[in-house]
């Protein structure tokens, strides 16, 4: 990778607000080999950001692209500087609703409420406002209820590159069972 390329990629990322698709940069830099581009990215990531403690930024892959974000250890100082109040986190009800949409999408309001055992109108409205979910269509059943699916903002919000990065239900169960079951041979 030439230093001009590195500088250009950094500049493009600095200006971009949303995660940038790798395809666009590859086209612009006239790189057609994906593994080659990946190598460039990794070098950039390591030598430009991670191995440089004097730099406050890092390269982050999420939402199907990559972008510049601050390093996690700077969070508290940034909060002080910008006098930002404690950022609002999602409520448990919203998280539950989002879990269902993420794993069962597209899902209707009735399906979501049914799985939670409690009405989900409030959380769904809240998540729509936050743009973490969207109406992806209508279910072809009486009443044509709206179907909800997750958005690209959802991926970015949770630092996912795409939906396949979410562990499958089986993996999840194993993950938690290992944690919960104390060793038999103590």
């Amino acid at each position: 990778m030439t230093s001009e390329q590195a500088a250009l990629i950094e500049a493009i990322l600095f200006v971009s607000k949303d995660p940038l698709e790798p395809g666009r940069i590859m086209e612009f830099l006239q790189i057609s080999d994906e593994t080659e581009f990946e190598k460039i990215l990794q070098t950039l990531e390591k030598e430009h950001f991670l191995d440089r403690p004097e730099r406050g930024l890092q390269l982050k892959r999420s939402g199907g692209g990559f972008q510049l974000v601050t390093k996690p250890e700077l969070h508290d100082s940034l909060k002080d500087f910008f006098t930002v109040k404690q950022a609002t986190k999602l409520t448990l009800a919203s998280l539950e609703t989002l879990s269902i949409v993420a794993y069962r999408q597209p899902a209707t309001l009735a399906e979501i409420s049914d799985m939670r055992g409690v009405n989900a109108t409030g959380p769904v409205k809240n998540l729509l406002q936050k743009k973490l979910i969207r109406i992806s269509g209508r279910k072809k059943v009486p009443g044509l209820p709206a179907l909800y699916a997750t958005t690209q903002e959802f991926l970015v919000y949770f630092g996912l590159n795409d939906l396949s990065q979410l562990p499958s239900l089986e993996e999840l169960t194993e993950l938690f069972e290992e944690k919960e079951q104390p060793s038999l041979f103590k």
């Binding site: 930002v84 986190k89 998280l95 269902i100 409205k125 406002q129």
Partner: protein, 242 residues
């Protein structure tokens, strides 16, 4: 030493009946697959009883589950026919519970991910957090306008009028008035404007005038955010002064 009664603050708040059931199962250290839901019933009911002032519309989900539990319990004390159908309420509730437990696990995972991501700042966030952010304006449909309109009419209907107004309104006059207002202020806040009007008659005439003007592309209705206020602007393509 005298034991003083400890004042217990009710801190348990459960999001729905499944949440409460899972809590009870965990509290009794039961395995979800082997439990007899009938055993949990009395504890579940005592939770509902201890809850001061049940709000039926909010807690109906809890009550439904209570009824199911009582049904399961009554079935468990009755002699059972041999070939019990697959769809026993007990099995159904257990299945829902197991599914719900998965959801709780996923929620926990998402919460952890949210926490890690919160530590990273993006350029986007500053725009979100500071006052001078630019909204992406979305054009609204006549349906949304109508929704707000009916809400206002309902409010007006409840108000008491002290006198009977004999004033009559015309669409032409209204259109001139609205055009004037927009020229003066640049835009009209739909809700605020409708609220200021005197009578249902005037509201009706104004609403139809607005619809007509939008239809003729004289005005454009824009909404800043989902469920946000609707503002009316002059449509550059149309000619406002006619």
């Amino acid at each position: 030493m005298i034991e003083t009664p400890v004042y217990q603050v009710q801190t348990d708040f459960f999001e729905g009946p499944l949440d409460l059931l899972l809590h009870l199962i965990r509290k009794n250290k039961l395995n979800i697959n082997d439990i007899r839901l009938a055993v949990i019933t009395s504890e579940y009911l005592s939770y509902l009883e201890n809850k001061q002032g049940i709000n039926p519309s909010r807690e109906s989900d809890f009550l439904t589950t209570a009824a199911t539990l009582i049904y399961i319990k009554s079935r468990s004390v009755l002699p059972k026919p041999e070939s019990l159908a697959e769809e026993s309420p007990e099995k159904q509730l257990l299945y829902t519970l197991i599914e719900y437990e998965k959801i709780q696990k996923i929620s926990k995972m998402l919460q952890d991910m949210e926490y890690t991501e919160r530590l990273l700042w993006r350029r986007l966030e500053l725009n979100e957090n500071f006052a001078n952010r630019e909204y992406t304006l979305k054009e609204v449909s006549a349906f949304q306008l109508a929704e707000i309109f009916f809400a206002i009419v309902r409010k007006k209907e409840n108000e008491q009028f002290l006198y009977v107004s004999s004033k009559s309104y015309s669409i032409a006059a209204k259109q001139a008035e609205i055009a004037g207002l927009i020229k003066e202020n640049g835009f009209i806040d739909f809700s605020a404007y409708m609220k200021k009007l005197d009578s249902i008659e005037e509201i009706l005439v104004s609403f139809f005038t607005l619809l007509e003007m939008i239809k003729r592309h004289l005005l454009i209705a824009l909404q800043e955010s989902l469920f946000g206020t609707i503002s009316l602007y002059a449509n550059e393509a149309g000619e406002l002064s006619n």
